[in-house]
């Protein structure tokens, strides 16, 4: 890889694409760009700084994501990379891309509802079943297989499903 041929703007674009392609280890159909975890990529003197933000405070996937970004950049010839984690502004599920929501649904996980205000957190949640689309659903457990998900069940097709919680 001959990195010297690119100027900083092109390098940044390439580094962004590499970082953006890293998948969430717990929901592999989503990339960190789909999730809104990838905040920024900066390049200077051919070293790359990637800024990410955690989803949940205790999300164990963050260490893995950091490592995956470093490895992906290394594979593409970026020898000097640094991953910076910022807390502010706080990540919210509103940052998930439309593409990400579609991919989640196709994967069988109900995407978070938009506008994750406290009203959405505690208002009447109407979650559509990702299998059959029915809105006649009920919560089975507020906490699911990972910290970002709850367990729901469709009362029409009877399938249980994961719901990506508003945050």
């Amino acid at each position: 890889m001959v990195i010297a041929m690119f100027d900083d703007a092109e390098l940044r674009q390439r580094a962004w694409e590499v970082a953006a392609s890293v998948a969430d280890p717990e929901i592999p159909v989503l990339t960190i760009a789909d999730l809104g975890v990838l905040r920024d990529v900066a390049v200077s003197d051919s070293s790359v700084e990637v800024t990410i933000t955690p989803t949940y405070s205790g999300c164990p996937a963050m260490n893995m994501i950091t490592l995956e970004i470093e490895l992906a950049l290394e594979r593409e010839g970026f020898r000097n990379s640094r991953i910076r984690t910022v807390l502010s502004p706080a990540w919210t599920t509103d940052w998930m891309s439309e593409d990400g929501r579609r991919k989640l649904r196709e994967y069988g996980i109900a995407p978070p509802q938009a506008a994750s205000s406290r009203r959405a957190l505690f208002g009447v949640e109407q979650v559509a079943c990702p299998q059959c689309g029915s809105k006649d659903t009920e919560v089975l457990s507020e906490f699911g297989s990972t910290s970002c998900k709850a367990l729901w069940r469709c009362k029409t097709c009877r399938e249980p499903f994961d719901y990506f919680k508003c945050h």
Partner: protein, 258 residues
Amino acid sequence: MVVASIQVSETPLVLYTLRRADDALILGHRLSEWCGHAPMLEEDMALANMGLDLLGQARELFSYAATVEGNGNDEDKFAYLRDVRQYRNLLLLEQSNGDFARTMVRQFFYATFADLYWRAMMKSRDATLAAIAAKSEKESAYHVRHSSEWIVRLGDGTAESHARAQTAIDDLWAFTGEMFCYDDGERALIDAGIAVDPAVLRPPWLKLVSDIVSQATLALPKNDWMQQGGRNGRHSEHLGHLLSELQSMQRTFPGATW
């Protein structure tokens, strides 16, 4: 082999941050003790998930305390290499799990407070504490909803669950006053807009707690005598046992890493 405990320069902001970090770590650890033992699978996941939220908050707070202190300490040293008397958590949070009702009452008393607290702290003039608050308040909102539902279910359930929930409330009530106390160092931080005045949070907390408790056909004790000490390192007998487990690896194999 014994590893010496670290020294901490407890300037007001370091101490303030450590107190909140210790709250999150100790309650998070208590919840993790339920892993594999909860009465049903959904609750096993819920308790572990909430413990994980708290552990994440603790890590952010410890890291910030380390940055402010600037003495070469880090999140692991704060967690693993301080002795009982150096811990600054609320007495409520170190109390043993007991039965499921007792764990839920402890969770309910704290989550309802933490939710109000973190929401208020989002306006802190300290940018890092405000950022940690913005993440924590969403998590605590889920913890409030979860524990409130259980208080109602237990209190308004069978005679047995009602009795156990009431006993837990009676036993833990005296530890709730400490959540609303502050000392001179914290007073200065409150005046500077970095901390929030916890006493202001007590009326809305009491209203919320009273509403849920009465909905659950339970009652709050009339006795308002409150026990304090955790914020200054005077702990109940439970914390030492908890730390002996939490710290055993680092105390036995100093510096061990994954």
